[in-house]
Amino acid sequence: MSSEPILSLAKLCHERKMRNKASYPNHGHNRSNVSIRIISVLVLVAWGAGLLASMSPAVALPIAEARHLLARTGFGLSRPDEIMALAEMSRDQAVDHLLRGLRSTPVTEPPDWVGDAMPARKVRKTWSKARKKAFNKTNRERWRLLQQWWAGEMLATPSPLTERLVLFWHNHFTTSFDGVKWIPYLYGQNDVFRRHAAGSFRDLLMAMVADPAMLFYLDGRRNRAKKPNENFARELLELFTMGEGKGYTERDIREAARALSGWSVDPATSKAVFRAKQHDRGQKEFLGQRGAFGAPQVVDVILDHDRPAQYMAETFYDAFIGGRRHAPTVNAAAKAFRQTDYSIHTLLRTLLVSPAFWDPETYGMQIKSPVDMVIGLARFTHWQGTTKVLVNRMNTMGQRLFRPPNVKGWPGGATWITTTSLASRNGFVYAMTRSWAAAARSGMGGINTMAANAVTAEMRALVTEPHRTPAETKAIVLAVPPVRDLAYEKLSPASYLTALFRDPAFQMK
């Protein structure tokens, strides 16, 4: 969209005027004048059409598109002010705006114990039964506190995309309280995810090979030259980089385990440490390459392979676009990812600006995760209550942060919705919207809590702003039309809004 067409348009108009003036006395007889006029109109129309076509992404972002982008890069639901903030941008501009907002550090203060070193095994062995019990209890308590801290960060962050990515990586390079009892390790990994959220996948992968939480969770710290433990090596290939059974063999797993041997966690510093004595220094044959590989070479050899780019492009596609994969889009993203030596930023951007992402057919094609359900609604209503309440709700809906069901993470999709989880999701939406209904009944603001007032203000903005139609309200709240038959005319504005939130369509993003 250079300024040239506009200049030439002005020139064209000017010339036309001059000619018209010049030919005025005998117009209608001057053939050349008529043909020039026809040509100029044609040029104008052609140029205008071209301009429209090339400009269409540059015109204001419709509510539905802004909602879609924010829902998929955030927590499934966004406030009207967040949606309106993108209104003047093109699609690409909106995507870049979100990417520019990415953070590498949290905005909230983590608990003060996240830097504590784990008591050494030698020390723990001397403890009494009661002391050990107290230790376990503290760890359980800290796990809950860490969940609450993260939920608070998701609420407070100006960049939901950052936390969305951290959650993505938590679900990819899974670790869990079920294998990592020392909670500072879980925090440490979460911090690494934020620092590398959209950075280099190569760096992130290397960081995971030497991550204390990971070394505990998949037994890497027990992997020694004499008796290799292949737990981490297997998942490194199966879940983290290649995809199950794709391009590697059981033998590659064993060889990778040998190459990765020797990494452990130093209890004195709580950092990963390489113990050369425990490392198998022999020759390995891994993914078709030979050498006396160690951990860095394992990462390099894996990333020399074609699979990881493809696999990660597929994984990102599923997470951010969903539905049936559009192969050319996946392939283009994989190619861009590989060409930029595994820049996550490039991978994500390529997908977010792709026509597949913006296709209205993808609206509402994903089921919100429990984190989406809870954080989305809590952000929407300017939640003022404790984060403990929110975390408890996520847990009962089936997503316990820092405690995914297994190394594969939460399977998501249709599995989010069971009779148990849907009941607790519905319960949450009912609880969150109950105060609105009450507020509406008592004439707005009758409820004397900050949360209810904020909600009421938001609700008023949503349904009573003179320029906002019911259709716009619907476009802000829902990704797809409601399943229930909601006749706006028969409901009060407040009831209509509440009904939108309680519709099964609200489960979708």
Binding site: D219, R222, R224, K226, K227, N229, E230, N231, R234, E238, E244, G245, E250, E361, G364, M365, Q366, I367, G398, P405, N406, V407, K408, G413, A414, T415, I417, T418, T419, T420, S421, L422, A423, V480, P481, V483, R484, P504, A505, Q507, M508
Partner: protein, 383 residues
């Protein structure tokens, strides 16, 4: 057919004590299959122990169970001592142990292998329906039943996963609530399968709740108490459903934590204790209401574990493992063969009994269905 009649008779006798049947259900669907998934891959060699085999001790210097602690089943094999509560069922010949259960070209991935077990499909086609869903395609449990399957543990329908399977997952009986709501209609010509899924689950929930609330399952009285752990509660809920006459053909429970790569000894003992407590309480409750003959309990896991222990006093992913099958109509004893420790393949046991033979037995001898896809072989497991 005589068996079926006996089934009807038993149910009819038991029924007036607890409830008045409201819907007539075909006799075969009065038979319940209770699946117990040992999630993570149970260590078969320390469950049914080849305690006389010197190789066993040689391969497991830290994890081998002392001979005098093993509960002897015969001169070669014995149970882990934590399974003591199951011994009365073994002695009464109401517990069968299928040995060396597995499948050809074993896959050592948790996820792929459990898919194989739960779909009974070897070929790599993701999204295959669960084997019970495939089986029920042949003859659908009647629509008058509240559901075809009930998932109590782990929230994963496993063998009941499939497009049209009517499955309900429950955490607690108290989560059932009395509500009246009209069924939702999915949008006409919808192209959003996940939204359709939400609508279907919502409808199923409303329907099942209406149905089950009328049953007052919490008030069903059961003989004895259940252990207070999660698995115990699952077995108690299963018992209430069956005793309360809810006639859900399949109930899936799960006990997790079997992926014992490190420090196996204590954890495995705890898990097997929980397993034995849950199963024995369930058997007692079923006998108490005269319905032990109407249930078949079967354990399964994605794989067993490697014979040789690792350096972390744990065991890595393995292959073939034993499976427990319990019930009033079970013909107790061993099936299959214990895979020898001196004939390993890639450090792992070689399976001796294809798990599909057990499934085929359930299909044909338990429900009278065909289940051709499960292969021709059946076992004389069920009287």
């Amino acid at each position: 057919m005589q068996l079926t009649r006996r089934g009807i008779l038993k149910t009819a006798m038991a029924a007036p004590l607890v409830f008045v049947p409201q819907v007539a259900v075909g006799a075969t669907w009065r038979r319940h299959l209770v699946l117990v998934e040992l999630n993570g891959g149970n260590d078969g060699l320390n469950t049914v122990v080849p305690y006389r085999d010197p190789l066993y001790r040689q391969m497991r210097s830290k994890l081998a169970l002392p001979t005098d602690q093993v509960l002897s089943l015969d001169e070669r094999l014995g149970l882990h001592p934590a399974l003591e509560r199951l011994m009365p069922l073994w002695i009464d010949r109401q517990m069968a142990i299928a040995l060396g259960v597995g499948y050809p070209q074993p896959n050592l991935s948790h996820f792929r292998s459990i898919d194989i077990w739960e779909t009974a499909t070897m070929t790599e086609t993701s999204g295959e329906d669960g084997w019970l869903v495939r089986l029920f395609k042949e003859s659908r449990p009647p629509a008058t039943l509240p559901a075809e399957g009930l998932v109590l543990g782990r929230n994963d329908p496993g063998p009941l996963a499939g497009e049209n399977a009517r499955v309900i997952a429950l955490k607690k009986l108290t989560s059932l609530r009395k509500r009246q709501r009209k069924n939702l209609k999915p949008a006409a010509g919808s192209t959003n399968p996940l939204l359709d899924h939400v609508v279907v689950v919502q409808n199923r929930m409303d329907l099942a709740e209406r149905w089950l609330v009328e049953k007052n399952l919490q008030d069903v009285s059961l003989a004895g108490t259940f252990p207070p752990h999660d698995f115990g509660r699952q077995m108690e809920t299963a018992a209430r459903f069956i005793a309360g006459g809810s006639a859900v053909p399949v109930i899936k429970c799960a006990l997790g934590g079997f992926d014992t790569h490190a420090g196996q000894m204590g954890r495995h003992r705890r898990l097997l204790t929980q397993l034995a407590e849950g199963l024995s309480s369930f058997a007692r409750a079923m006998k108490g209401v005269g319905m032990w003959d109407d249930v078949l309990v079967m354990t399964y896991a994605e794989f067993g574990r490697r014979p040789r222990e690792n350096a972390s006093s744990g065991t890595d992913h393995g292959t073939a493992a034993p499976q427990l099958i319990l019930g009033g109509r079970v013909r107790g004893g061993f099936y299959g063969e214990q895979p020898p420790l001196d004939r390993l393949e890639g450090q792992n046991l070689v399976y001796r009994l294809d798990f599909r033979a057990i499934y085929a037995t359930v299909a044909r001898r338990w429900w009278g269905l065909d289940g051709k896809f499960l292969g021709p072989r059946t076992l004389p497991l069920i009287t």
